[in-house]
Amino acid sequence: MELLFIFTFLLLASLIGLFTKKRLFIEFVSVFASIFALFGSINVAMKVVALGSYSPFSFLYVESFGAVLLLIISLIGLSTTVYSIQYLRQESAKNIIGPARVRQYFVLLNLFILFMFLATTVNSPIFSWIFIEATTLSTVFLISFYNKSSSVEAAWKYLVVNSVGLLFGFFGTLLYFTSLHSVDNGSIVSWNGLLNGATSLDPVIAKIAFIFVLIGYGAKVGLAPMHTWKPDAYSKAPTPLGALFSGALLPVAFVTILKFKTITDTVVGLSFSQNLLILFGTLSVFISAFIIFSSRNYKRLLAYSGIENAGIMALGFGFGGLGIFAGTLHMIYHSLIKSALFFCSGNFLLKYGSAKIKNIRGAINVLPFTSVVFVVGFLALIGMPPFGVFFTKLTILSAGIKNHQLFSIVLIFLVSLLFIGFLKHVTAMVFGKKPEDMSIKKESVWLIIPPLVLIGVVICLSFYIPPFLYTLFNNIVLHY
């Protein structure tokens, strides 16, 4: 039942934004819906731990990976909502946006979070597709939020790439349905129904279907070469949205690919899907490693880092074995850290009024708290010990070195390159001399708390993984 309440509250929060003009009320309802979603998700996760899966109705089904995703979406959703309130207030104070825009933002934000919840919990591949497509509809108007030429252009690019990608995903999904000719076609086919029918699927069709699904949903994940929309959309959308894009939408689309991978593996064995994941993963890390080095915009830098980390997750699941465990853990670390970094970048943007790296200098003097969180987040993201990403990257590499030495060696080189590229930009932004005309004011506590909490969770999870999460991870490794 808690799932229905989560959906209802998020929908209500969105509708209230449509029908009332009271900003404080809209903000309060949005935060309340997000808090409820977090506690509801924790409750569902506990039930999945106890029962193995949770299905209050045949239409909804949450297994271990779904439970992890619910926790990620709800935590990132809550922190984004809280952060957005103060962020948009400051933008309103600078006359960047008006009250109507604020209402539009919260309507779309709550819808976006709702659709991600639905895509994760719905027990049907077609409905998963529909809700992921629905996220495109809600986010495209958030990308064009500032109504500038560049943001409209970014939104259009996002729309075309993702729509074509999702049509590919739709076609791939349909091909999986060819195994179900004997099933009652009037009913909605569930994920388990598709998995059970997979034995009668033609192996060549299964391969073609997986390629379409990987390209289709891979566009939403941002795997190279379908990543082209990502830097533009991230850099033009309101900054808090980057956290949800990178921290929540990426894992939702990635897990959908993994669900189809399981079906494909039962037909053609593990190696086909694993090799494709390794190929797309390596390409993603390769492209982002070289572009990060020459990046001039810190929001685009974070976008390319998202592409790199999606690649590392793909490599983890491609290498298999311990790589799956590390890939799952990497997904969580990345979601939390990247969201925190996007919040920090929002603080830089508010203070300096520029997203260009060359314009951000001496941030440690201007925004000391933000800068410290940013540096810690950066160190965590590139995999410095003792942060968890160090462990996940090392484990993925060690899983790969057994059977895919060449890819692993290339990966070591690329990760080193990424480290240097990232370090160059971060040191330039944080240290150095601040602009002469830049005043130093106290930072808003509501712009610091969300990234600080997320980094705090990452640090805790780097040293201690609670038993319930371990159970979920073990189930994921067994299933995928």
Binding site: S144, K148, E153, K157, V160, L167, L174, F177, I205, K236
Partner: protein, 215 residues
């Protein structure tokens, strides 16, 4: 009935997409899209007559309303509003486009995709035509310079997928039907909002005028 369903209708879909690569005027493009959509409606209707499933009739009516009536009307209104007469420009010239089209059709008929076009062996020819239409729609998306022609190309890709699903006998799946209706809904909203926004910001719907993302 059989000849219409298995031969003429998928040929109309394919020929309309080939023609979309060749036309110069927006109004011709919209007409071709409407014509193509009629073929899709007839396919779905034939399927309803064969199976007697009411849900298929409902989807047929929705597709008829949205793709054959509303979408062309809306596109024509946009063309008139923004005076978009000759904006169906392509990146690749006509003769080279025809060469690529021929290569794509040969690819669709090649042995590589036999499994795909043999899902229902009796419908091999129709599935090959539908798959060719998919590849040509994809090329149309890549090759189009106008926002409106990109939208029509994406909608053509969707039509091709529906045609493929009909000949693969997957159209009776409730999931597919909901998926089709939802996709139409999304694109109607998006097209309504975005083409006007692009025209307002860039003074044109030519996507090559979008050059603001160079940082």
């Amino acid at each position: 009935m059989n000849i219409l369903f298995y031969t003429i209708l998928p040929e109309i879909v394919l020929l309309s997409i080939i023609s979309l690569h060749l036309v110069k005027k927006n109004s011709e493009m919209v007409f071709l899209y409407g014509f193509q959509s009629i073929a899709i409606v007839l396919m779905l209707f034939c399927s309803f007559l064969t199976t007697g499933k009411l849900s298929l009739l409902l989807v047929t009516v929705v597709v008829l309303l949205a793709k054959v009536i509303l979408a062309p009307l809306f596109f024509n209104k946009l063309i008139l509003k923004h005076k978009l007469v000759f904006s169906v420009k392509k990146y690749v010239n006509t003769s080279f486009s025809l060469v690529i089209i021929a290569i794509l059709i040969i690819t669709a008929y090649s042995d590589k995709f036999t499994s795909l076009t043999n899902i229902i062996p009796a419908n091999h020819a129709s599935l090959s035509l539908a798959f060719s239409a998919m590849l040509l729609s994809l090329f149309l998306i890549v090759n189009s310079r106008g926002a409106l022609s990109q939208i029509v190309a994406i909608l053509s890709l969707e039509n091709s997928i529906v045609a493929f699903a009909v000949f693969a006998e997957l159209e009776q799946s409730a999931g597919l039907q909901i998926g089709i209706v939802f996709d139409i809904f999304v694109w109607m909203i998006v097209a309504t909002m975005f083409v006007s926004m692009i025209q307002k910001h860039f003074g044109s719907i030519d996507v090559t005028s979008m050059k603001n993302l160079k940082d």
